[in-house]
């Protein structure tokens, strides 16, 4: 499925880790890796890159580097379209202290506009860190089936043994407001019913997915859509969070952030947005 991976490179202290992660990912997917750098190609940068490539993990197919000047967002998006990339990898930035990460404005725009799936790395590592636990959203959406399939595809490629499917159930779906003992009981019965229904729905999607050798867990959480799942991934210290791409983003969505915006503002772990 993933045949062409594009990574946006900036010559930052993270370059080495980002590059090595990209190489490993490309190898894992058997994909060819493209690197785009927005800026002029000069000797030092090229040498630097060459040195890194020589010392790092070996790519199965050689890296193709693209140097281009212009607005970073446009250049990367154009390259994406041009090479027909399946996956765009971006390194997230680090905020004042080491506990917080955020996506810079460029990465944020790219995530919204990219025509392909996007993988945001908050903890790129020079050495391989095994991916042990993937959390994927299982919410009711026409894209979910595809996202889940992609998550399991990624899991089997990375050799990840555990996938948790998280169904976020929003409060409004409960319809029962907890006021007293009676309504509390009702709400809990209703919750169980919703959980069962959601599990069944996920079960149906799973029928068509090869989950061999992977431990699948279903977890219902009650909270704000798109946000609670990030919190959950953080609490459970998942290595990768796989999410649906948002259906649409308008100016209004940015004012009243939801789904993706929450995740982008508070990256809990590496995030893969499936398109």
């Amino acid at each position: 499925m993933t045949k062409k991976i594009l990574i946006g490179l900036a010559f930052s202290p993270n370059l080495k880790a980002n590059l090595y992660e990209a190489i490993r990912t490309a190898n894992v997917f058997d994909a060819s890796l493209y690197a785009v750098h927005v800026g002029i190609k000069d000797a030092t940068k090229a040498d630097n890159l060459k040195a890194l490539l020589a010392n790092g993990p070996k790519l199965k197919t050689p890296l193709q580097t693209i140097w281009k000047e212009g607005n970073p967002v446009t250049v990367i998006l154009e390259t994406c379209v041009k090479i027909n990339a399946n996956l765009l990898m971006l390194g997230a930035l680090q905020k004042e202290n080491i506990y917080k990460y955020y996506v810079g404005s460029i990465a944020r725009k790219l995530t919204r506009k990219a025509p392909c799936s996007v993988l945001l790395l908050i903890k790129p590592s020079v050495e391989r860190v095994p991916c042990n636990h993937i959390v994927v959203n299982g919410l009711e959406d026409k894209k979910t089936a595809e996202t889940m399939a992609y998550a399991f595809y990624t899991a089997s490629n990375f050799g990840c043994k555990r996938v948790t499917i998280v169904e976020e159930i929003s409060q409004s779906e409960l319809e029962v407001k907890v006021n007293d003992n009676e309504t509390l009981r009702e709400a809990n019965i209703k919750k169980e019913r919703i959980e069962k229904r959601e599990n069944l729905r996920v079960e149906n999607i799973l029928k068509d997915i090869n989950t061999k050798d992977i431990i699948v867990k279903k977890q219902s959480i009650f909270g704000r859509r798109g946000y609670s799942i990030g919190h959950y991934a953080k609490v459970k210290r998942a290595d990768l969070l796989v999410m649906n791409a948002p259906t649409k983003t308008s100016a209004l969505d940015r004012l009243f952030p939801h789904d993706l915006e929450y995740i982008l503002s508070e990256l809990p772990t590496d995030v893969l947005i499936v398109k």
Partner: protein, 741 residues
């Protein structure tokens, strides 16, 4: 069938509710009159509020044992409204205020329908304390003068307070006999109020203190009327003025000033105080309910609003839920809303049968009751309590108190909110933490088996408490709940206090409510409600912060240690439990420190903080583990629930070892290690039976001993007990096995 039973129960409980309603009405009568007088309203308006409130809320309310009527919190607001709206004319001011009361009732109904009963949670606890104390001082300042027979005293709260010494001097020096009598009655009444709870005589205690005062006053009147040759010495001016025919002559509200700014601010203030007082009372009364029912707050607010509207049209004051009368109701075995209804019915009886007697009650006697109430609200003990929680709480309290006294209630509470926020920012030294996360959901709840697990991140204070409350309210109190603050950097006093309330109600209803992840948060004082902030960066520098105060969890750990007669060390150490790094689990994880160590000769149960990953990827993780040291060598192995792969990658390459005679064990557990034969030999039938019949733990063995890990997070007290018990039972089995080798 259930309905029939309910009805039978209801009828069966009627007698005790009638009795309880009667006792409450004995207090409600003098208090209603007094509160109305103190508000500057006709005395009957307080009784009207109690009667309407009792009837309407009993029918439409959502709580069980609360009593409704005029509230003391509103005295200051209503008095202010009457004075400003009337511009000198108290009668006209009262009519305008009635209109304000009606509109505030409508607002409350709307709030109830919008489910904004939670509005009260937005106010910081210490600010509310400060506001209540200010109200108390307000009542005290004005009523003290009335108690001494001086109804003319006027001015702001501060002026009235300053006049108290000269008021006393004037009273002593007075040559007006009537005034002297009135003042003496006031002082005697106050003495009764103060000493009532100290006199432990069951006959004396049969009648509530305010009713004693009423009875003494009426007795005195009849003494002068029938026995003594002289006239009743107290001037008519100082007696309660009740309308001759209480069933007619309802004053009608005047809506003439509806668009006036003063009017609007009066409505806001009345609504604010009425809802805060009611919400606080409902919450407090729920804790008293012997049947442990949960009140439907929003339904109650709607009922109170409706009652207020009706009361306003009949010339009555606001209807709120009142704590003191409700406690009396519970103490006298009131068990459902009918008690509230009967309290209203008895008031109707009193007012119809004894109107002329009641009108002989001197004002100073009622004022004395209010002086006592006011003092209770602002008592120095309250200040002391706040101070114990922390210095910053005292600042919040005092600023709110002083602003409220000097300006108005609304300004006071707004000031309180601002000061609270500013102190939070100063204490956490992180304004961004609050600003960026204010509107973000910060609470996650999911079920871990049967346990509800709630994780709170960023910050948790009065600003976003509703979100936490929304989640916590959905947990049945008979279940187990764990609230994890590991990801949360700042927790304020209001939240801590509320969590404590939850813990209490869970305890009452047989559940278990536990807060974890606060051990590394520094507290400003010893008090369990003190706000706590996380000093991740500072802890590294001055690691041994021994002066830190213990959290509730640490105290419970201490208790467990005593129960098991183990030793307990709360401080953080890096050099304790030195065997840890030798375990495969810690091969890829760097131990930062070990704290909360419970230990005996062989076992050490502790919280360990460690890093996973480096630099960017660095994550700090805290978990609870048990280490058992063994003097003899046992084969290296790891044992896991089948499917829990996160622990075992350091043993990669080793396959699951199947114990031939126990297919079920092999199916459920993942056992791996280097020396298959030794391990197979080690796992005897008893040991396998033990593992099969006990909860799953991750167990790792090496030449030093055993490491037992539950979930990869801090364990709650209950879980720690289970873990310790598990270890204690496992150890003899293994030792026995080692002996035989």
């Amino acid at each position: 069938m259930a309905n029939k039973n309910n009805f039978k129960n209801f009828v069966g409980e009627l007698p005790k509710n009638i009795f309880s309603g009667f006792v409450v009405s004995l207090i409600a009568l003098p208090l209603g009159l007094g509160l109305a007088l103190a508000s500057g309203a006709p005395p009957i308006s307080g009784i009207v509020a109690a009667i309407v409130g009792g009837v309407v809320v009993a029918i439409a309310g959502g709580s069980q044992v609360t009593i409704t009527g005029p509230g003391n919190g509103l005295v200051v607001v209503i008095l202010g409204a009457i004075t400003t709206l009337g511009a000198g004319d108290m009668q006209q001011g009262f009519l305008y205020t009635l209109a304000a009361i009606i509109i505030s009732g409508i607002v409350m109904i709307i709030l109830g329908f919008l489910r904004l009963g939670a509005l009260g949670d937005f106010f910081p606890a210490s600010a509310i304390q400060g506001m209540l104390a200010a109200i108390g001082i307000g009542i005290f300042a004005k009523q003290f003068h009335v108690m001494l027979g001086n109804t003319e005293a006027e001015g702001s709260i501060i002026e009235l307070l300053l006049q108290i010494p000269s008021g006393i001097a004037d009273f002593i020096a007075t040559d007006d006999l009537g005034l002297l009598w009135a003042g003496c009655i006031g002082i005697i009444s106050l003495t009764i109020m103060i000493s009532y709870s100290k006199i432990r005589n069951k006959y004396f205690q049969l009648i509530p203190a305010p009713m004693w005062i009423v009875m003494i006053c009426i007795g005195l009147y009849y003494y002068f009327d029938m026995i003594s040759p002289s006239d009743y010495p107290i001037d008519k001016r100082l007696l309660i003025n009740l309308p001759n025919n209480v069933l007619s002559n309802f004053p009608f509200p005047d809506f003439g000033k509806v668009s006036n700014l003063d009017f609007i601010s009066a409505v806001i203030a009345i609504t604010l105080i009425a809802s805060i007082e009611s919400l606080l009372s409902i919450k407090a009364v729920d804790k008293l309910d012997p049947l442990k029912r949960r009140s439907n707050v929003n339904k109650d607010i709607r009922a109170l609003g409706l009652a207020t509207v009706i009361s306003g049209f009949l010339g009555g004051l606001n209807v709120v839920t009142v704590i003191a009368r409700s406690s009396v109701n519970v103490n006298n075995n009131g068990s459902n809303r009918s008690a509230n209804f009967f309290h209203a019915s008895f008031l109707v009886l009193f007012i119809l049968l004894f109107a002329s007697e009641l009108s002989k009650i001197p004002l100073p006697a009622l004022a004395a009751i209010l002086v006592y109430t006011g003092y209770k609200l602002a008592a120095p003990e309250n200040v002391k309590k706040v101070f114990k929680i922390g210095k910053e709480q005292l600042i919040i309290f005092l600023v709110t108190l002083l602003t409220t006294i000097a300006t108005s209630l609304i300004t006071g509470i707004i000031m309180g909110i601002i000061v609270t926020f500013v102190t939070h920012v100063i204490l956490s030294k992180d304004l961004l933490l609050f600003i960026t996360n204010l509107f973000r959901p910060n609470v996650l709840m999911f079920k871990e088996g049967e346990t509800f697990y709630v994780s709170v991140k960023n910050f948790s204070s009065f600003l976003n408490y509703t979100r936490l409350k929304g989640k916590l309210d959905q947990i049945p109190e008979s279940k187990d709940a764990i609230i994890d603050f590991t990801l949360c950097e700042f927790v304020d006093h209001s939240v801590m206090e509320n969590l404590n309330d939850y813990a209490e109600s869970f305890r009452r209803k047989g559940g278990h409510f536990e807060v974890i992840g606060l051990d590394s948060h520094n507290a400003g004082s010893e008090h369990p409600f003190a706000l706590r902030k996380n000093f991740i960066s500072q802890v590294i520098e001055n690691r041994v912060s021994t002066s830190k105060t213990l959290t509730k969890r640490q105290k419970s750990l201490h208790n467990i240690a005593e129960e098991l007669s183990w030793e307990y060390t709360p401080e953080q150490h890096i050099d304790k439990v030195t065997e840890l790094p030798s375990f495969g689990y810690f091969k890829t994880r760097k131990i930062k420190e070990v704290s909360n160590i419970l230990s005996n000769e062989n076992c050490e149960l502790f919280d360990v903080e460690f890093h996973e990953g480096e630099l960017f990827a660095k994550q700090i993780i805290k978990a609870t583990m048990l280490f058992i040291s063994l003097d003899k060598k046992i084969p290296e192995f790891t044992l896991d629930k089948e499917g829990f792969f996160e622990y075992i990658y350091h043993f990669a390459g080793f396959k699951d070892i199947d114990i031939d005679s126990h297919p079920d064990f092999s199916k459920r557990f993942y056992l791996s290690g280097k020396d298959i034969y030794e391990i197979k030999d080690f796992f005897t039938d008893e040991l396998i039976l033990f593992f099969e019949s006990n909860p799953y733990y991750h167990i790792e063995a090496n030449n030093k001993g055993l490491l037992i890990i539950g979930r990869e997070r801090l364990a709650g007290v209950k879980e720690i007990k289970a873990l310790a018990d598990y270890g204690l039972r496992l150890m003899p089995l293994i030792c026995e096995k080692l002996q035989t080798v």
